[in-house]
């Protein structure tokens, strides 16, 4: 797999504040890497450096082998931003034609890319009359018109409804199949889990984890099972996989376990009348929060019906 983005030992600081500290990242053709982490982790600085908006102070950044600070290298880049601010008075086709000209793309590239993102019928419509989803597709058309080797998507689906988000990713899939690498930043972690081949977690400017979404989730083996039951805490300790047991003030049994299925079977066998069973399952969000030292959000909860499925 060809490397379209290589970030090696990048350091960057603002005054005495370290924004990036020895960051390494490699992205291959057709690969999607999600860059995740809390606010202030350094994601924006890294994206700015990769897109040539900022020159890295130390280390090496190469997009298809070139320095992104150089305009010529940026011909290999396509960028979708959260807010593009496209002039409202321009028409869809004019905007994409402008992007093609700025990127040095051939004249004939505009029509096919409008068709690719489903905007052919709206080519003469002014930007101000487009919906949020259509404006995002317009941004995608601007990013794709030069057939980029690397797409940088900075919060690309923020503010879109579920259907528009799905549509966005479906349209992008074909480009990935043709070899475009994707660097994605998003706060929609379910989306990152669905589309990213790998996740890189940044915290305090450092890469604290890099793995597949499933691999990151698997790093948190523990699940918390709780229920209103007469089952004795002392008995729960003897069940395989149990890590810790406690009883809440309201009598609720709370068990931390690496084998939630074994525990649930034992609880149901011992107390068929148990009530309000919950399994708190770590998803990607939980994993990212834990890995970045920001574990403050409530974990995802599964209902009894979900357990049964």
């Amino acid at each position: 797999m060809d490397t379209v983005l290589k970030v090696a030992a990048v350091h960057h600081r603002y005054g005495s504040t370290v924004a990036l500290d020895s960051v390494d990242l490699q992205l291959g053709a057709g690969e999607c890497v999600a860059l995740l982490g809390p606010n202030g982790a350094g994601k924006t600085t890294l994206v700015d450096i990769v897109t040539g908006l900022r020159r890295c102070q130390q280390g090496t950044v190469a997009v298809t082998g070139g320095d992104p600070v150089r305009a010529a290298t940026r011909r290999a880049l396509g960028v979708v931003q959260q807010h593009s601010g496209v002039p409202r008075a321009l028409q869809v086709e004019e905007v994409v034609r402008g992007a093609a000209i700025r990127a040095g793309a051939p004249r004939g590239a505009v029509g096919p890319v409008l068709a690719e993102v489903g905007l052919t019928q709206l080519a003469r419509r002014r930007v101000t009359l487009l919906s949020g989803g259509q404006q995002q597709r317009l941004q995608l058309a601007m990013a794709l018109v030069n057939d980029p080797s690397l797409l940088v998507l900075d919060e690309p689906t923020t503010g879109l409804d579920a259907a528009a988000r799905r549509d966005f990713w479906e349209r992008l899939a074909a480009r990935r199949d043709r070899g475009a690498g994707v660097l994605l930043t998003t706060h929609q972690l379910d989306e990152a889990a669905a589309v990213a081949d790998r996740v890189v977690v940044l915290a305090h400017g450092r890469v604290v984890a890099a793995d597949t979404p499933a691999g990151l989730v698997a790093r948190l083996p523990d699940r918390v099972v709780s229920a209103r039951t007469g089952y004795a805490p002392a008995d729960a300790i003897t069940i395989d996989g149990t890590v810790a047991v406690r009883q809440d003030a309201d009598g609720r049994l709370v068990v931390t376990t690496t084998q939630p299925e074994t525990l649930v079977r034992a609880l149901l066998a011992a107390d068929p009348e148990l009530d309000d069973l919950r399994i708190e399952s770590a998803g990607l969000e939980q994993a990212v929060l834990a890995l970045s030292g920001q574990l403050t959000a409530p974990p995802q909860e599964m209902t009894m019906m979900e357990v049964a499925r």
């Binding site: 305009a71 880049l77 601010g85 321009l90 700025r102 990127a103 040095g104």
Partner: protein, 263 residues
């Protein structure tokens, strides 16, 4: 330290890249003009106001003469300077501030086109806009019978005003990089209107207080108007051109510092 470069810079001097740069520049200028023409409310301060003032003042005093020519003809130079400075100062300056706030400038910066080309386009887009203002004033002057200027002198007048007005675009860009759209409008209007009045663009300097008359030669707007008046008399007005050149150097420096600060 950065990676080795695989491709040549876009602004090299090969024929292909020169052609591409011209294509980019032409597109950027066209985009600028389309945006202005399709949202004409932006033309109020930069076009409607100076042309309206010109029509009012020419209607009141345009037929009077100073012994050489009509006041209406001289007003084409002074109000023309007012109109051109308005276009050059406000349109690119407020445009940059709006592009920055909306994120459009960021889109341009991550593109394969060097940002200076985008900025140059903003300056060049002021040229047809300024010419339109001068044509409107000329038409009003002709209709009211106050225009007494041969074609060559008129062309010299327009050329002097348009070329001499471009340094004001650099000042507008400097403010646009530092202020919000509302802030840029306020700052630029605060510079524009007092400078215009104090330079004798609305009424003859002799009618203004002595203190203002002493300040006027230090203002670039004064030198632009004097350069334009010189073209009507067949003079070159080189001292005024030199003053505008010095102002252009200062404005370019301010624009460069503001651009780097905004990065």
């Amino acid at each position: 330290m950065t990676a080795p470069i695989a491709e040549p810079e876009a602004r090299t001097t090969t024929g292909g890249t020169d052609w591409r740069t011209r294509r980019v520049l032409r597109n950027e200028v066209t985009e600028e003009l389309r945006a202005v023409l399709r949202e004409p409310t932006t033309l109020f301060f930069s076009a409607a106001m100076p042309v309206g003032f010109f029509a009012l003042f020419v209607g009141l005093w345009g037929a009077e003469t100073d012994g050489v020519t009509t006041v209406g003809t001289a007003m084409l130079a002074t109000f023309g300077a007012f109109g051109v400075v308005g276009v050059c100062l406000l349109t690119p300056g407020i445009g940059i501030a709006e592009d920055r706030e909306r994120g459009w400038l960021r889109v341009k910066r991550v593109s394969a086109t060097p940002l200076p080309i985008t900025l140059a386009a903003k300056v060049f887009a002021a040229v047809p806009h300024a010419c339109a203002v001068l044509l409107a004033m000329t038409a009003i002057s002709a209709v009211t019978g106050t225009l007494h200027l041969d074609t060559v002198s008129w062309i010299r007048l327009v050329a002097a005003l348009v070329v001499g007005g471009l340094p004001f675009a650099l000042l507008g860009i400097a403010v646009g990089f530092l202020a919000s759209p509302n802030g840029a409008t306020a700052v630029l209007m605060a510079v524009f209107i007092p400078s215009a009045v104090a330079s004798g663009l609305w009424m003859p300097l002799e009618m203004l207080p002595a203190g203002v008359q002493q300040v006027a030669p230090w203002l670039p707007t004064y030198h632009l108007a004097q350069l334009a008046l010189a073209q009507m008399d067949g003079r070159l007005g080189l001292e005024h051109a030199a003053a505008l050149l010095a102002f252009a150097a200062l404005a370019a420096g301010a624009a460069t510092v503001a651009y780097r600060h905004a990065r």
